[in-house]
């Protein structure tokens, strides 16, 4: 087996940012809607995972599939 060459990653200098508060009611509402949608998706995924005994892959192994 060949050894993977080590290439050190470039680490940028520290960036300091003053974040801009989001105050626009339209933008705030869009973010809230987006978060709600994401949480719903998360719940569906978690329910599917628990139904599947903790496995995220829902397909059966090839050996167990019906012919």
């Amino acid at each position: 087996m060949t050894k993977k060459p080590f290439v050190p990653a470039r680490i940028a200098p520290l960036q300091r940012i003053v974040a801009e508060p989001i105050t626009d009611p339209v933008e705030l509402a869009a973010i809230d809607k987006m978060r709600k949608r994401l949480k719903q998706k998360q719940r569906i995924q978690e329910a599917a995972t628990s139904r599947n005994g903790g496995r995220t892959n829902t397909s059966r192994p090839a050996s167990r599939k019906k012919a």
């Binding site: 990653a9 470039r10 680490i11 940028a12 200098p13 520290l14 960036q15 300091r16 940012i17 003053v18 974040a19 801009e20 508060p21 989001i22 705030l28 973010i31 809230d32 987006m34 978060r35 949608r37 994401l38 998706k41 998360q42």
Partner: protein, 156 residues
């Protein structure tokens, strides 16, 4: 000094043909702290001051000015729009929503970022979540990291 590293959450949403999570920076580290000081003698070395997992309040609502230290990595250089949302875990009520732009100058770069999120007003004791999102080129957004934070009332 303690740095809390969390595995990135790879959930994307929005009307996308390509997964937003795959084309936005990866959040390697999230730390809520008072200040970040870069070493004068060594590149890529930082001192995080007052790294906190919780805050003790004397009264409610409690105001606190916080910094978020992020360590980002990206396979592609570019400007990435991000958001940090602070929300109550119990009520889902928003405490602070802010936006910022991260500039990654080279492909496969690691970017240390100090984001001043300003005054957060915590309405009550409880658990709060700091959520980090990035926007993809097509406008879809992805939740790239989360960090829990507790606010407790000081006991007399």
């Amino acid at each position: 000094m303690t740095i809390i590293a969390e595995a990135p959450t790879r959930q994307a949403y929005g009307n996308t043909g390509m997964a937003v999570a795959a084309v936005t920076p990866r959040v390697r580290t999230i730390a809520i702290c008072d200040d970040v000081i870069a070493s004068l003698t060594e590149e890529g070395v930082f001192t995080l001051e007052g790294v906190r997992q919780r805050q003790t309040a004397a009264v409610f609502p409690w105001r606190s000015s916080l910094n978020v230290f992020l360590l980002l990595s990206s396979a592609r250089k570019g400007r990435y729009s991000g958001k940090i949302l602070v929300v109550s875990d119990q009520t889902d009520r928003r405490v602070r929503y802010v936006k910022f732009v991260a500039r990654i100058h080279e492909d496969n770069e690691i970017l240390p970022l100090q984001v001043e999120i300003g005054d957060c007003e915590f309405p009550e004791a409880g658990r709060y979540d700091f959520e980090v999102y990035f926007t993809g080129p097509n406008g879809g957004e992805a939740l790239k990291g989360e960090h829990p934070f507790e606010v407790t009332l000081r006991e007399e």
